[in-house]
Symmetry: D2
Subunit: 185 residues, 4 copies
């Protein structure tokens, strides 16, 4: 969700897409933007979630924020291709993600530029995000300018310290993800 | 889950099924029992959950407990037939439930007679329960010996008072249900 | 999916949204468009699908086509609000839809302006559609210029006549919907 | 579903469980039996299903049948433990399955000893089966007495030859699985 370079919370998008920055700014005032979000997890052999991968970023005021792998779906790009592109951008190409066999997300997150009934906000735009839990088997190898990835147990991820470090209501997406996999939240 | 009459937390099952009490006791020591659970909800026209219906029961020690519509699937009974049977038993025949079009539950709850990795327990048995959210449009008309139904807002249902009144870890099922419908828990 | 008036397969959108026709045309060349699709169904008391509601439309060549309730999500509009708006536009305000308690669609349909791995096409745009099954209890009261709604049994909807009358691969969405509710397709 | 040795369609269960053969026979006349079924798949890096693994077995009349990894959930066994046990029994320990992070099955299959509204039958019992799609990365190494595993493309698995080789209506479970992962069936 943090693609705006002026916010300095995200690596530059290596695929600038088909819109100029100006046109993209215009579109964001008038159309919902389609996003994907991925919550990387490490599973034990029985499929229980051992660890959740959260990105650590900073906003303009130097506050540290937690966030997910996230980014826009480009014109003529499939959701799966967008997912793998953003995962590789943030986690590197050695992370060995297992993309879901089904295209159905565990939730659909609706972010609005002003408070709304969904409780999710994004200053820049109206964004609708397909959210997926993505098991990974490899190691993350972030690029030099990339975000830091932290692996946390579900209990750590649910602690008030971590829950309070999300922006825009995203901590609710994490809680929904953990509820979806059967963790007692 | 509370069919044992000695526990006095549930109305007698009007369909005793094909097992004597003694045989059922034996089976419960040796096989997982298949259950259904229904969380009745009232929806607004957009599908947002306005209210959740929770049953109020008492255990042998006079402690009041919260629980769901719940009961066993009988031999040769479909899950849908078991759902409607238990809903009518606990909520009456005027409650106008809307059974789900899909047979896929929002979660599968595994109760064990001893603490386990699922965090859900049932003294009497190993029970595996298909859990459904069931919108209702009518009024509950409990039978004279029936349990009390209370309608609560999601915020009330998530309050510590109510969350602490469930037994066997069932408060987690409720939280998973609310997360599933997109409520920020 | 058929909002282009020149195609004459859809009633005019009573909510023109925040984009001029020209701007919308431009955006469609450069961004994925977010859509919702609803398949109205009539359920029996146990939740089994008795009937599926399909719209009948005509294309420019006078060929009759089957389609679903479908339309764009507007800027700052929730998915639920878009669903109810398009349902009322196509089926009237007396149809008494039961919007789903959960925002998770039964499938996410990705339409591309050229053949792709999804098998779904839309000449005009790259559209990503959240697809929902929506039980209705009332009667459809189409507006004078509205599309015809036909109620079909699942077997009729799966017949080769009907399956062959969809465009863009939408018959697959219908088959996925019926599989999702447990119908043997 | 083929545990009965007299049918000679399944390897002996290495975990006989807590019921004698006789007691199990009795229970099967009076209680629904809880099963798990797994459809092993090979995914490409984007998560698309490249291949489906089907078991080849023979019935008493020497007819060859297609079936899934399938078996009973034992007393005090979690669904995940039952899944991995049956996968290892039928596919060996080198198949490297990725058990699902979520306990929610893609469908719940209800088999009855006589024709019913579900269209699924099992001569021996009323069985309720949680069905999962399980990506595997390794090689199957069947035990000497094990069933043959065949890897088929989705198109091959949907061919009338293969579809006609299932018993009890299980071809519908396969079609539901493929619909769930977004394949046009």
């Amino acid at each position: 969700m943090y693609e705006d370079r002026s916010m300095n919370v995200r690596t530059p998008d290596p695929y600038p897409g088909w819109l100029s920055e100006e046109d993209l700014y215009e579109a964001r005032q008038r159309l919902p933007m389609l996003y994907v979000e991925a919550i990387p997890v490490r599973l034990d052999p029985l499929g229980y979630v051992n660890e959740v991968g959260l990105l650590l970023t900073g906003d303009d005021d130097g506050r540290m924020l937690r966030t997910f792998v996230s980014g826009r779906v480009m014109y003529r790009e499939t959701i799966r291709a967008a997912l793998i592109r953003h995962i590789e951008k943030d986690l590197g190409t050695m992370v060995l993600p297992q993309l879901p066999a089904s295209p159905v997300p565990f939730t659909v997150a609706e972010y609005f530029p002003a408070p709304s009934e969904t409780g999710l906000t994004d200053d820049r735009q109206h964004a609708v995000s397909m959210c997926y839990i993505v098991p990974v088997r490899g190691e993350s190898t972030p690029r030099q300018d990339a975000l830091e990835l932290t692996w946390l147990t579900p209990a750590e991820a649910l602690s008030s310290d971590i829950q309070g470090a999300f922006a825009g209501g995203r901590e609710n997406i994490l809680r929904q993800a953990l509820a979806h996999v059967g963790i007692n939240i």
